[in-house]
């Protein structure tokens, strides 16, 4: 009996992604199996080139896997065309980028409204939903401000509001604190924690341990494979053990 909290949101079954560079074939993802349930808070970690960006693009339906099956909310996305993937991105996925990707000439409200244009909401509904979402991320008094009148943290809040405005099944954040100072980073991560307690499923890509510590589950990648998939506490414990074993100081 699936309860809301154990419904499978994402299921990857032996997914590979192969790039061709000249005659060389690069296995960016090499047989990934993964299951994410509703309201999970996952951090994906790994050195650059480990395939975490490719995984992110794949989860976000920006890219298609070379082989394997990717099911989102129980739908097989592998056979969808460009239009179908766009629809999935619009309704089921919210993106947060490292560099915010806000439209500089438009107000915060317009930025948040943008995805709703593509879900063909009416003008009034757009306005209402975007405003509500900005209030939810704590920017109710900044709706008319343009991105260049906002601080970094506020910009990222606008981006998060934009990602959530279509009420997605999953929030994908790619280094959301990469361009922020540590104080603001903590604010943003606190916002993520809050969203998590409100029931949002979150996948976070990062290489900062302090960021990953907020997640409830940590996936570590290496050479296109998942080499560890543990809960946050287990992961911490293992790191501590490894640090002890190698006599190193944790970063």
């Amino acid at each position: 009996m699936p309860t809301p909290h154990n419904k499978v949101v994402i299921r990857l079954d032996n997914v590979t992604r192969v790039y061709k560079v000249g005659v060389e074939r690069i296995h960016a993802l090499d047989g990934i199996n993964l299951e994410l349930r509703q309201n999970e808070y996952v951090a994906v970690m790994g050195p650059s080139g480990s395939g975490k960006s490719t995984l992110m693009n794949l989860l976000g339906c920006l890219d298609r896997c070379t082989s394997g099956v990717y099911e989102l909310d129980g739908y097989d996305t592998t056979r969808l065309g460009a239009g179908g993937l766009a629809h999935i991105r619009n309704t089921r996925i919210g993106f947060v980028f490292q560099s915010f990707e806000l439209m500089g000439r438009s107000s915060a409200l317009k930025n948040v409204e943008m995805p709703l244009i593509y879900s063909r909401d009416g003008w009034w509904s757009r306005h209402k939903r975007a405003r509500h979402m900005l209030e939810r991320v704590g920017l109710g008094d900044r709706v008319k401000h343009r991105p260049n009148q906002l601080s970094g943290g506020e910009k990222q809040r606008v981006a998060i509001a934009r990602a959530l405005v279509c009420n997605p099944s999953i929030l994908l954040a790619d280094e959301p604190t990469g361009n922020l100072d540590s104080k603001t980073s903590e604010d943003i991560l606190a916002l993520f924690d809050q969203l998590h307690t409100e029931g949002q499923t979150i996948v976070l890509v990062t290489h900062e341990e302090s960021v990953a510590r907020h997640a409830k589950r940590v996936i570590r990648m290496m050479d296109g494979r998942i080499f560890s998939d543990l809960s946050s506490e287990e992961d911490q414990a293992r790191r501590a053990a490894m640090a002890e074993h190698f006599g190193e100081v944790s970063k």
């Binding site: 239009g83 766009a86 593509y118 279509c166």
Partner: protein
């Protein structure tokens, strides 16, 4: 029901959302948008004003033709291009008044006719003279055919014609130039070497700017028999007939032709030794010329639309490449390729239509200026609705045509690559 409505509704929403985005973008780049559309503005302005000028010219010519009368048939002697009369002497080709005897009975579609002859003479009155006044020999029916009545005095009578009296009608202009009293009836003027008594004053010719130079308004009229008696049987004479209704023109011409061939005793194989001319014929010819001119002028200024279109394409390409990240973002949040395509296409079409609108305004202003040029007979210049529609259509087509390539480029961008741009 929902499925049936769904497709057009979805299209409508796509269209609405594209227009919304495009207008936002144009508003955000005001200065650039205005500069970009300059080409289209100039193109549309020149197309509409050239067509307006031509339309004005045409309207002017038409009204001039109408003032000349559209149900008149000019009958004049004419050497055929072939046959036995090709090199015939003037004696055989010339008209003589006798030829037209019985015309009214034989040609039922002809309302009336007048025999005509004309030449230039010097006219004297006391110390005043007019160097080259136009002297016409006419029948009394001339007044009705030319629609110029006698405003003072009397027209010629049967007595004048029968006796070949030396009487004349003059125009107010002649009277004024000869410094005569307003009432000049009974005064004698010298035409050529002969003295004529003025019996009446004829309405001034309708001034037509187009054909003003064709005949001066210094006209003196004398009875046709008098002119024929004085100027001899070798002089150039012709006739003007009017048909009962404009629709009967073709029939009237056929009757005249039959009558004249019989009167001139032409055999079955002989070509006509006369010519029938109708104003409508010229009108038709003029229309053909006007249409060709409009087409050529339209084509030439259409090139400026083309240049404008290239400007649009250039700026749209720039816009696509500088907004690559934005396109990537839009795709990431769920814009379908069709939505991106439409957005850019609509943007270029809206730009072009915007240019068209300003251009039409400029064209209107230019037309106003053209209409004020003195002596150019363009005072009737106006922009016809079809020209407005045509240039707007062309502007929109330019937008679609030149916007298509950048829009396709944008729609095909890979979102991952686009987000990594720069």
């Amino acid at each position: 029901m929902k499925a049936v409505l769904g497709i057009p509704l979805a299209f409508l929403k796509l269209f609405y959302q594209s227009v919304y985005l495009a207008l936002g973008q144009i508003w955000a780049n005001k200065a650039r948008s205005v500069l970009t559309t300059t080409g289209i503005v100039i193109g549309v302005a020149s197309v509409t004003s050239v067509i307006a000028a031509l339309t004005g010219l045409k309207a002017n010519v038409l009204s001039n033709f109408e003032s000349l009368g559209t149900n008149k048939i000019f009958i004049s002697p004419h050497w055929p291009r072939e046959g036995r009369f090709k090199n015939a002497s003037w004696r055989l080709i010339r008209f003589r008044p006798e030829v037209f005897e019985g015309l009214r009975d034989r040609c039922p579609s002809i309302d009336d006719y007048t025999l005509m002859t004309e030449r230039s003479e010097t006219v004297h009155y006391g110390v005043y003279d007019i160097d080259s006044a136009r002297i016409y020999g006419i029948n009394p029916s001339w007044h009705r055919i030319e629609n110029r009545s006698v405003i003072m005095g009397r027209p010629f009578t049967l007595m004048d014609e029968e006796n070949g009296w030396q009487v004349c009608l003059i125009t107010p202009k002649v009277r004024d130039e000869l410094r005569m009293d307003r009432n000049c009836i009974g005064k004698r003027i010298v035409v050529g070497q002969r003295s004529f008594t003025i019996v009446g004053v004829v309405e001034q010719r309708v001034e037509s700017s187009m054909f003003g130079g064709m005949g001066s308004s210094q006209e003196v009229f004398i009875p046709f028999p008098t002119a024929w008696k004085l100027w001899g049987p070798w002089t150039w004479m012709y006739a003007i007939a009017s048909c009962r209704k404009p629709e009967l023109s073709a029939e009237a011409q056929a009757e005249l032709r039959f009558f004249l061939r019989r009167a001139r005793r032409l055999g079955p194989g002989d070509p006509d030794t006369f010519r029938l001319e109708v104003i409508e014929e010229y009108l038709r010819q003029f229309n053909t010329v006007a249409q060709t001119t409009t087409a050529i002028a339209g084509g030439v200024v259409g090139i400026s639309l083309l240049v404008g279109g290239i400007g649009i394409m250039n700026i749209m390409l720039v816009s696509v490449s500088e907004r690559t990240r934005e396109i990537g973002l839009r795709k990431a949040v769920g814009a379908r390729p069709s939505a991106i395509l439409f957005q850019f296409l609509v943007e270029s079409v809206v730009l072009c239509l915007f240019g068209g609108l300003i251009g039409a305004g400029f064209g209107q202003a230019l037309t106003g200026l053209i209409a004020k040029i003195p002596n150019a007979s363009l005072d009737k210049a106006y922009i016809p609705l079809w020209a407005l529609g045509l240039s707007f259509g062309f502007a929109a087509a330019t937008g679609v045509f030149f916007g298509m390539f950048p829009a396709i480029k944008a729609a095909r961008l890979d979102p991952i690559e686009a987000l990594r741009h720069e």
